[in-house]
């Protein structure tokens, strides 16, 4: 399973001294952390601290103001745009709203990446589409439009589309936002299954504590006050060992300001 620590960790995404900004407004500076291969990595922090912006930088939609992002050894924002676009095909992204293309059916949504990049025949594609939809529990919904299904189903369909090209990295932007607790739990389980099943590295932007503790084995906490990473590491361990009061406040819903006393 992706949550258990493996002995040999190879870095997959390295963020080094990165600053992100809108114009002259600096959101975060000197971000340095590493996402290992097979991690379920949570980007956490309060509302408006730049979690989603960080994700947009990682998936190639916004350039950092300074610093670098490495995928393995490739400096993601230094290479040419065409090369970066090629790398982006290895990412699967679930956007906050699902971002399914509203003028296409679920099947067409999932088929589009396959049509564009695989050169498979029609029958093969529709078989793959059916499989991906079945994996997220939406078998039989091929002909539905995004507007005809519920928010939870839209997110799951979004995941199916994100998985269409068997990505190396899956990004989730607040996957359980706006979902009821049971659907949120189902989504968490699905993410874990996918992480273990297809072996993709998973990066989740979230502030849902139950999700963080249930699925993340590594994390970075973006601290709004000091405008940089407040802590990095396993969220469970951060809860007991972090020295940073902001991290503890976040992880305990503001009920505690210091870590629990270390066990002997």
């Amino acid at each position: 399973m992706g949550t258990t620590d493996t002995n040999q960790k190879t870095p997959h995404i390295k963020i080094r001294d990165m600053t992100m900004a809108y114009g002259s407004f600096v959101l975060m500076r000197n971000l340095t952390f590493t996402v290992n291969r097979g991690d379920v990595f949570a980007i956490m922090g309060g509302s408006g601290c730049g979690k989603s912006t960080l994700m947009r930088i990682l998936i190639g939609l916004k350039s950092p103001a300074a610093g670098s992002v490495y995928y393995r050894e490739t400096n993601f924002w230094e290479i040419r745009e065409s090369q970066r676009e090629k790398m982006m095909k290895g990412f699967g992204v679930l956007y906050q709203s699902g971002a399914l293309w509203s003028s296409m059916t679920l099947a067409e949504n999932i088929a589009l990446p396959l049509e564009l990049y695989t050169g498979l025949g029609k029958n093969d594609i529709s078989e793959l589409v059916a499989l991906k939809l079945a994996m997220v529990g939406l078998a039989g919904f091929e002909g539905y439009y995004p507007s005809e299904i519920s928010g939870g189903m839209r997110k799951r369909a979004g995941i199916a589309r994100a998985m269409a090209l068997d990505p190396e990295v899956l990004f989730f932007d607040e996957p359980s936002a706006g979902l009821d607790p049971v659907s949120a739990k189902m989504l968490d389980d699905l993410i874990l299954e996918l992480n273990a099943g297809i072996g993709a590295t998973v990066v989740i932007v979230t502030h849902e504590l139950p999700s963080i503790f249930a699925i993340a084995n590594n994390s970075v906490f973006l601290d709004n006050q000091i405008r940089t990473a407040g802590a990095t590491g396993n969220p469970q361990q951060l809860l007991t060992r972090s020295e940073n009061p902001a991290v503890i406040r976040f992880l305990t819903r503001g009920e505690k300001t210091a870590g629990e006393p270390k066990e002997p």
Partner: protein
Amino acid sequence: MPKPQLDTRRTAEDSLQFILAGKWKTGLPIPSAVAIFGSRIEGSRIRKISFDSRELAAWDTSLVGFVHQLSSQCAFAGIEVVPGGLPGGARRLLKLAAAVPPATDADKTVAKLSFLDRIGEAGLAAYRATLHTLEFIGELALSFQRLLRGKARFRKADILEVIQACGWQALPIVSLISILVGLILAFVGAVQLSLFGAEIYIADLVGIGIAREMGAIMTGIIMAGRTGAAFAANIGTMQVNEEVDALQTLGVSPMDFLVLPRVLALVVMMPLLTVYSDLLGILGGLIVGVGAMDISLIQYLEQTRNALTLTHFSVGLVKSVFFGLIVGLAGCMQGMRCGRSAAAVGQATTSAVVIAIVGIVVTDGLFAVLTNALGV
């Protein structure tokens, strides 16, 4: 006793007690805290205010609002307000309102700009808008180049869908407007020409007027309001829903996938619609000429045929291609530049239509000058 009532009682030399009675509910005539402060408290020797709410029949936040306002007035004057006599719920709400002091750095009032500053800002904004437009046209040109090399990625179904939307689905409205414009031109001309007994020239007036100018312009304006607005709203909503981002992460250029098919379809369909509009406009003129002015059908058609050269017709068609390009560009550009809110989609749609119509009329003016200079 439904009305809110307010009495005061001096409890000591420097203390005033407000006696609240009746219903203090929103919609009833609640006394003004500022007025009461001005008339009863300000300038007096009162240093302490308390309340008695035992006679109070009912209350809601309007009572809290009254006390809150009174308190802030008193705070300035250094007068103590004791909320003890208020209902428990109201005391809690007051405490809640006072818990977080008003943010001092969240003030959004912007310094008023002078007249010259505003002219400068407007000039810079226009400059930036021009740059954006040129950039967009450049991107579209690159996208077109990719299309020619067979590298542009979009769905064939999309282009057919847009052709349908700005093709035969637009026919009813184009028909109606074109016939009416033909009728109007003929009527206006008929009144003047009949003064000289030259009614037969209605056919020339309508034929040339419609083919050269009105057919293309009216079709352009209809398409700006119908299709251009739809492009902006459609792409703008996709922008809000992150659907455009989803395309980009897939390595698909939104320019190729969304803009190119729409602009292409419109550029192809506009001349066809214009031909249709020309025919119906001439039909409108014919209805007036034959129906109201005593010209025979054959005479009218013959006169139109003589007046209308291929040049007139082609000028209209060439313009319609440009109009299609303008409408498509304006709609798609505003959609792509749309912000991420529902209000932004509305703005994008509005400005798409405005830009397209202004663009059409200005381009038409340029064509008038150009064709005049070239003698066509």
